[in-house]
């Protein structure tokens, strides 16, 4: 083959410019991409000046309920400036696809984590009940999550009442422990969580109808089959 034809030649640029040269904003970049060509000149081209300090937002854990009757499951994190914004952003980051009927978020700092167990050991056995002080203050509700296998994600199993996180783990050990080994436990104070209100469940109303994001909508099999049959009969594409 000849020379690589990725050269951005004059006539290619001229065509693009014909389309975009009536823009009044001076272009930052001569690009074939009309959106890029429209970008305003911002800052100095070249390496980014180090941001000091880094404007990094806080971290929030996101939990999704896929179907009615199924428990909430941990999905991942979003970075956001606060809890309310985290909820708004998490909704599209984690529940724009597949099935979902509800979701909630909590600041990562408010997630209490047990040690991770090894092999067949139950993480609950690593909790030293002796060292925990009880009834230190007012009791409040904690949500409890279990990790049943390394590589999987935390799943909600129930809630307990406790006056501080360590006590919550002990309560969970007594009330929610399972026969199968639990590898890791999370406890989250319920009032730290930004839940979905009953009216807000409407947010996922049309989710099942977004067919344009389903692989099923893009079955080209019939068209392809027809084409192949035509080709056999009239081999003109050589």
């Amino acid at each position: 083959m000849g020379a690589p034809s990725f050269e951005i030649t004059q006539d290619k640029l001229r065509y693009s410019f014909g389309l975009i040269n009536r823009m009044t904003i001076p272009p930052a970049l001569n690009s074939l991409d009309p959106r890029v060509h429209r970008l305003p000149i911002t800052g100095e081209p070249g390496p980014l000046v180090p941001l000091a300090p880094l404007d990094q937002f806080g971290t929030f854990e996101v939990f999704v309920q896929p179907k009615d009757g199924k428990p909430f499951q941990h999905e991942g994190i979003v970075h956001a400036p606060n809890l309310k914004m985290a909820y708004v952003l998490a909704k599209e980051t984690f529940t724009r696809r597949f099935t979902c009927i509800s979701m909630y978020v909590v600041e990562t700092r408010n997630v209490m984590v047990s040690p991770m167990s090894e092999g067949d050991m139950n993480a609950y056995d690593l909790i030293d009940e002796e060292s925990v002080s009880y009834n230190v203050g007012e009791k409040t509700r904690y949500e409890i999550y279990h990790l049943m296998k390394r590589g999987k994600q935390q799943v909600h199993v129930g809630s307990v009442e406790a006056s501080h996180p360590q006590e919550a783990f002990v309560e969970a050990k007594q009330m929610l422990n399972s026969e199968k080994a639990v590898h890791n436990i999370w406890a989250i104070r319920t009032r730290d969580i930004q839940f979905t209100s009953p009216e807000e469940k409407d947010l996922w109303l049309t989710l099942p109808e977004k067919k344009f994001r389903d692989a099923m909508e893009y079955r080209g099999g019939e068209k392809l089959k027809q084409f192949l049959e035509d080709r056999k009969r009239h081999p003109r594409y050589e």
């Binding site: 389309l19 309310k84 599209e92 724009r96 947010l203 049309t206 344009f212």
Partner: protein
């Protein structure tokens, strides 16, 4: 029921959604924050999807196929308000436009949920969840950025003052306004505008932004009658670039 009145209503709504959805999609991959990039793109998809649903209602009333209607009409055949065709500018303008337009759109569809034209009422009820998200998103962003720094408040204030005359242009009354109201299809732009003003003020009151003196703002009309700024023809030229290579082709 006057079919012309209904079609005009559907066209202007569909055109608004399509053009704004298209504008908002320009931010995909270039947003200020990854998660927000994703959220803004979802809302753009919702809008384009809603415009498709509205063009489909028009198809059922005898108009052409949605692709033909969207990708081959000239600027003067479009009935969107000028607000939605304006370039994106910086994020403050895009957010303000999102706030002003989506508040009106949510109220409009709420009113249409009781429309005498059943297919439209059904559509309005079906998309209420999408609109709830759009207004939730807009309100939180305006509330937070509008009470944050001097820079963010200043930017939003300037964008607000620039956008308001165009936003009022969305409520330009139709020649068939009385028919729409008397036939129960839609309770009219005036009612919508009044509710919208109340809602906008409610949200702005939670910020450091100055609420405008409505008496001093001159609405920019014309979009509903096909009189647009230069921006719409440039937008349509870009949008139809591939389609026009061969309008009869299947892509």
């Amino acid at each position: 029921m006057s079919e012309i009145a209904l079609k005009e209503l559907l066209y202007k709504m569909a055109d608004d959604q399509l053009i704004l959805g298209h504008r908002n999609s320009e931010w995909t991959g270039m947003g200020p924050l990854l998660e927000e990039d994703i959220a803004f793109s979802s809302m753009a998809q919702d809008k384009v999807g809603q415009s498709l649903a509205l063009y489909t209602l028009l198809l059922q009333l005898g108009e052409h196929e949605p692709d033909t209607v969207a990708f081959t009409r000239d600027a003067q055949q479009f009935h969107n308000c000028i607000l939605v065709e304006l370039p994106n500018g910086e994020y403050d303008f895009s957010l303000i436009r999102h706030f002003l337009f989506d508040t009106a759109e949510a109220l409009r569809f709420q009113m249409l949920a009781n429309s005498s034209y059943e297919p439209l009422a059904q559509l309005a009820r079906k998309i209420r969840g999408e609109l709830r998200y759009h207004t939730l998103h807009a309100n939180i962003w305006i509330n937070q950025l509008g009470s944050a720094t001097e820079e963010s408040t200043g930017r939003l204030q300037r964008s607000l003052e620039f956008a308001l005359p165009y936003a009022l242009g969305a409520f330009e009354e139709s020649a068939y306004e009385t028919e729409l109201i008397s036939s129960g299809i839609f309770i009219g732009e005036k009612m919508l505008k009044d509710q919208w003003v109340t809602q906008i003020e409610t949200i702005l009151q939670t910020t450091n932004l100055r609420i405008p003196d409505w008496k001093l703002i001159q609405p920019v009309f014309g979009g509903r009658a096909g009189h647009h700024s230069i921006h719409l023809s440039l937008l349509l030229e870009e949008m139809s670039e591939v389609f026009r290579i061969d309008p009869g082709a299947e892509w």
